[in-house]
Amino acid sequence: MNSAFFLVLRRMRAPIIVLIVIYAISVFGLTLVPGVDAEGKAAAPLSFFHAFYFISYTATTIGFGEIPTAFSDGQRLWVTICIYLTVIGWSYSIVTLIALLQDKGFQNTLTVNRFSRRVRQIKEPFYLVCGCGETGNLICRTFDRIGHAFVVIEKDELRVQELDLQDFKTDTPALAADASIPDNLLRAGLKHPKCRAVLAVTSDEQANLAIAIAVRLLNPSISVIAQGRTLSVTANMASFGTDHIINPFARFAEHLALAISAPERFRLIELLTALPETPLPEIHRPPRGRWILCGYGRFGRLIADQLMPAGIELTIIDPSCNPEEMANSIRGYGTEAESLRQAGIASASGIIAGSDNDVNNLSIAVTAAELNSSLFVVARQNHHVNAPLFDAYRDDYTMVPSRIVAQECIAILTTPLLAAFLSLLRERHEDWSNALVCRLQGLCDGRTPAVWGLKLNISEAQAAYRALMQDRRMTLGDILRDGTDRSQPLPAVTLLIRREDGLILLPPDSLSLAPGDELLIASSLAARRNLELTLYRPSELDYVLTGHEVTGSWVWNWLAARRKAGEQPS
């Protein structure tokens, strides 16, 4: 039984005993006081049955009157006392109950119970999101949009309440608790058979580490994705087999280096890993040449590690730099014109404002742009709340850690095939990437396409799988038609097909499908639903393949089959 019930019983013990005693005293008294009969002579007192009946309706203030006969004065005296006694007893019980309901601890117990019950009742696969700050919130909203179930644990109660106010399509269980405590993870469904993965994306690295360890030990079969920003923590996470460690700084540094060395391929990766149906990211073409890096902390070091091998000359500005020890470095903040001039701003082609202070970063960016207007400015945005400032400033490229982490989480979880596709990209030429980028950008007018995976099996594409198993031939081009009007092609690009004998990159429309094929498709979310329905329902698939409208009703199908048989006499 749940703990709230026991808490009520325990707290209600005293009032219930008081009530029993008061009832007992009243009933006993009433069975002792002599009554009076119609002629005014003394009569026997009420029996237990009548006394209990009388006290029952008097104590609950129903008050039927003096039943079965009019009372004697002695009885009335006793009943007066009883009335006050029982009112006290009932008031005490009710006041205790109300106090209990308003009790913080009791309400907390109720909330936790309700949360665990809802988690237990989840029927579909779900993700466990630990931490609902900027990153977590972005992930949750995306999950909601693409229709994945998820459970949230967040330490800050206010954020959980805010979560309730966001109009999610589904009613998401959320608990205000510390996710680094294993009990809370278990309550949130860590051992639930439908739990697919845990995302440790709190702002506290140590908490992420604790979550990752807890998941590894308590439920080793599910994958865990953790966010880490310092080298020691990410190394620690890797040491016990965390499936994916996302370091937003390292990822951004890689992206920046790639954007300089292979801009078209970078653009393609950016499009494919962007959150689905968000506005197309701006085109970034950071120039080669000499760059200035302001801030040489965790972020700065990772940037330097990536850019220097790519053949970029870097000048570093940091308050902790010692120009005598490190070549090309200047002591300063970069917010003042003097240190920027020292760093040779006039001849530089780009600047990275990468300190952990948003205001300083903006100040660096503005000052640098005044000194050299042709400069390519990269700014690091630490807090989501400052987004309007960065939007207003319009730097060339903004690094938003929460967005990077969210994108990567979604890409890993929803499309395992994407990693295979991205690794194939390395060998491709820039022109090839450019052609694909043009196709992808046209898919859903001005927004990024959703990249999603589909397996031709019985659970995901029932109708198509059955048809393929019956040796019915269908090509990729056959199924990529609009299910409402088959003359229209479905705006979707098939990026990759994985089958037993290998990977097929950008398969042609004439390719014949086989059961068990895994498809990686880029399209709008509407086109995704369209195609999924086509492949799932036999009647829809029939229409798309042949143009015949089949009603799907059993009787009608039977009649149609009979008529067909009648037309072709054997």
Binding site: F6, R13, V21, T31, F48, F49
Partner: protein, 127 residues
């Protein structure tokens, strides 16, 4: 000494003794089984039940369940009495008396189990 334990033990034993007092005597003779004793046994049994509320241990659960059985039996006995005396007007005949007393006998058994658990619990106590 713990006052809570004293009260707890007191009510459990009192419920059993009152129950025994009502039960003892020839089963079909109404003059040996006074209705006040039944009422007292019922009230004390209810109080004992309330005292056992909210204990989540295994022993606490068995305590509560035996008490609930005793309550049920005594309430059944009281209803039988009320029906015979007031509803049907049959009065305390030998058969009615024996059914009331045998119901209270069942309750007595549950109360004895309660007392035994209480003793076992005490014996197992090491402090």
């Amino acid at each position: 000494m713990n006052l809570e334990k004293v009260i707890f033990g007191f009510f459990i034993v009192l419920a059993a003794t009152l129950n025994f007092g009502f039960f003892i005597g020839d089963i079909d003779r109404p003059e040996l089984h006074h209705v006040y004793e039944l009422a007292a046994a019922l009230v004390v049994s209810l109080i004992a039940t309330a005292l056992k509320f909210g204990d989540r241990t295994q022993i606490g659960a068995i305590h509560l369940s035996t008490s609930l059985v005793a309550d049920l039996q005594l309430i059944a006995a009281a209803i039988t009495w009320a029906v015979a005396v007031h509803a049907t007007g049959e009065g305390m005949t030998a058969s009615v008396t024996s059914s009331v007393v045998s119901l209270s006998g069942g309750a007595l058994f549950a109360n004895i189990v309660s007392v035994i658990i209480l003793i076992v619990e005490t014996v197992m106590l090491r402090r």
